[in-house]
Symmetry: C2
Subunit: 457 residues, 2 copies
């Protein structure tokens, strides 16, 4: 139920939605051709990753800032995403719109997105335009003109974005309150777009402070994928980004963490705009960055086996066999800097009841917790999972996204490269253990989206 909503919520007005939010390998044994991925640091601390891909005369150029909504000061929710908007305004060197017009003129495309953990800017262009992209991107890293005249109208834009995307969307409203309930202390509780009453007050002082603190080469990662070699990227990067002075050293990204949780919670939104009831159930689980070795990989495979697609246990049992559900599944977002979530969801078909769907999903989880899974089932799931990663990898901008996400959430290039081997090493017992440890507990949050008038009291 909330898969799409969460992606939308966490994305920005122009957002690349990551189909697979976990790290993926560049060195799978199954890969047909190995790109020589290289990574290095500029003198000012900017990380650079180059992913050669010579199949077409195209490059993907991305800059990732290691700052997201979970790094915002209390009471300033939305500033990370609002700032992403401001990056499209004028600088002391280029007026607003000039960068975008240049990209359009050469047949390129551009994008930007903000999440809890990072903010990224992205262009896809012919290789000969790479230097120009870097010039513009390096320019707006430090030379934005942030006046009230710029900021006021853009604040109205993000407020309208919140109204249209969240306030008008019961699923989105529910998703926000689920996050605020799942996370009792961690700032992942706060929506990426911000709470309306705080967004309304964001001002020039907030924007300038945020820019000065976080937009600097030593807090940024440059990812270039495409028809280009590492030496060329290094030369161009040194001439552009390399000229931007290092910013102040940032403290470690230590956010308030979750307390031990002891309660089962529900969050219910009843709204006349909802036509079909649906539910989701969410547990706090470790991310790749916080997990003990192998646990995040086991959670990834558990989500695949339990509800990752049409071959999964939940889909087979509820949609194919009993037919009680019109949709049902599971997902795990492992690519977070801090503690993350594992979610199952479903909606009834025809005259089936929501609680039948919920019970049937509980039974599937219970089956894995009690009886584990078979060796063949695990092998098939690994195969599906790694194969989907290979398709993913075949896409230049996906590859750039995979590396950017990993590096911005505490993983390394080596982690990404070794990931398929770690997936291969997961055992049936590892799967049963993470299911028992994380999904077998009473302190989950169940969300209900119900058609009907708002319930009184």
């Amino acid at each position: 139920m909330t898969t799409n909503i969460r992606s939308v919520l966490r994305g920005a007005i122009i957002a690349v939605l990551l189909a697979t939010p976990h790290a993926v390998s560049a060195s799978s044994a199954e890969k047909p051709a190995e790109p020589e991925i290289s990574s290095f640091l500029l003198d000012n601390g900017m990380e650079v990753v180059v992913i050669p891909d010579h199949r077409a005369p195209i490059v993907t150029h991305m800059v990732w800032y290691k700052v997201g909504s979970a790094d915002e000061p209390p009471g300033k929710s939305g500033i990370a995403h609002f700032f992403e908007h401001l990056m499209f305004k004028g600088t002391t060197r280029h007026k607003a719109g000039e960068f975008g017009a240049k990209i359009a003129e050469i047949g390129g495309s551009e994008n930007a997105f903000t999440t809890d953990d990072y903010t990224a800017y992205h262009q896809t262009v012919p290789p000969e335009a790479l230097g120009t992209m870097m010039e513009y991107e390096a320019d707006r890293m430090r030379h934005l003109i942030l006046t009230d005249a710029v900021i006021g109208p853009e604040r109205d834009v993000v407020l309208e974005e919140r109204r249209s995307r969240i306030e008008n969307n019961p699923e989105a409203l529910l998703s926000e309150e689920v996050d605020a309930t799942v996370y009792q202390n961690h700032p992942y509780r706060v929506p990426v777009i911000g709470w309306m009453q705080e967004m309304e007050k964001l001002n020039r002082t907030d924007a300038v402070a945020f820019y000065d603190q976080y937009y600097a080469p030593n807090n940024a990662i440059l990812i270039v994928a495409g028809d280009v070699d590492a030496n060329t990227v290094r030369d161009l990067a040194e001439k552009t980004y390399g000229q931007v002075p290092r910013g102040p050293d940032l403290p470690p990204r230590v956010r308030p963490q979750e307390p031990e949780q002891n309660t089962a919670r529900t969050v219910t939104l009843s709204d006349p705009r909802v036509s079909t009831p649906s539910f989701s159930k969410t547990w706090l689980v470790p991310s790749y960055h916080t997990a003990a070795p192998g646990e995040a990989e086991a959670l990834d495979l558990l989500s695949e086996i339990l509800g990752g697609g049409s071959r999964s246990r939940i889909y087979q049992a509820l949609v194919v066999k009993s037919g009680v559900a019109s949709s049902a599944g599971a997902y795990f977002n492992g690519s977070k800097l801090d503690v993350t979530t594992f979610t199952v969801y479903g909606a009834p078909r025809g005259t089936a009841k929501l609680d039948e769907v919920q019970s049937a999903i509980d039974m599937e989880i219970d089956g894995i917790v009690k009886n584990g899974i078979g060796e063949e089932e695990l092998a098939a799931a690994k195969n599906r999972f790694l194969r989907s990663m290979i398709f993913e990898r075949d896409n230049q901008s996906s590859m750039a996204n995979i590396y950017g996400t990993a590096l911005a959430t505490g993983s390394t290039v080596a982690d990404v490269e070794e990931w398929p081997d770690r997936i291969k090493n997961v055992t049936t017992d590892d799967i049963r253990k993470v299911a028992a440890r994380y999904l077998g507990v009473s302190h989950s949050v169940t969300a209900y989206l119900l058609p009907s008038e708002p319930v009184q009291n």
Copy 2:
């Protein structure tokens, strides 16, 4: 169900529990003798309130700091309460324990407590000891010795306090998670005692920063009630507190506020230690400081009429007449700086079921929302309510508490004095309106405390 727990939670290791947490008058028409309450400022910004009470040779001396757990930096939960403990350690002038020994020697008593909004220190002694109390209290406002040797062992004390008061108490654990669910953005979400994993890391740097920021005369209120006159208090205060230099100006106490809420939520704790099931239902409502004129007074009377004691609708219907409940009631805590809560609660008697109790309470609320209340019922409630305030006022330390609480949560001495008249002005329509506006909405949080093994999933 949660009345006691919340008080305990919000109190400190040595706590004065306020029986009536709202402001009360010093000028009720029903009062027999009018104390001449005076208030003034010292040159360094310290507020002083003197409440003469000559019935016995005793004075109550309190210092209230306008800082509580809701003012803590993110990730530093528990520092306000931890700091309250540190205030009982040695200073550069007096070793640890000397102040307490002095109070005991003269037959006095002392107290301290921390809440979300304030931290207070309190002694009751013979009038001739007032100057000595002020000397010690002014001394520890600025001269504490905060070394690792002092801080380490006291941190172990507060950690043990959390273990024994919260971790070992299902009601307390539930209450914490209810607060974390009711408040989606405001720091009232965070327990006063702190989250364990953050308390464990509180250190000398945190303590010194907190002391330097908040413990200064211009952030403090002195309340003296008892057998003393204003001129004596002023002279003594100028010689003691008046010698403490003004601290840095503090910014306005603006905390992150709540977003609009749209969901109904439940929080369930099932624990084998629980013998009787119980529930509570909580709504966000305005406090005296945030409410439109008259609304907080109407909420106070609504809580009295709905569930304020044995004459209330809920008690009469559920405990006296149908007998489905062994306990049931309502409460409203209006004395908060920011948005507060209104709660109803109940527990079944004998073979009655929890949902019978819950439905019966819902019916009582619904009755008021739909049909309002009668003039006689309102008059009787006002009478009970004001009379209980008069009893309250008859107690010297309660009077000191009432003024301290009011001043520390954004009210004035005049607000306290005019409060009985504002209560008298509340109409039956005002009561129905606040019931409909605040309790007639679907976005409440219902808590269940259930006996039994932890539920799987």
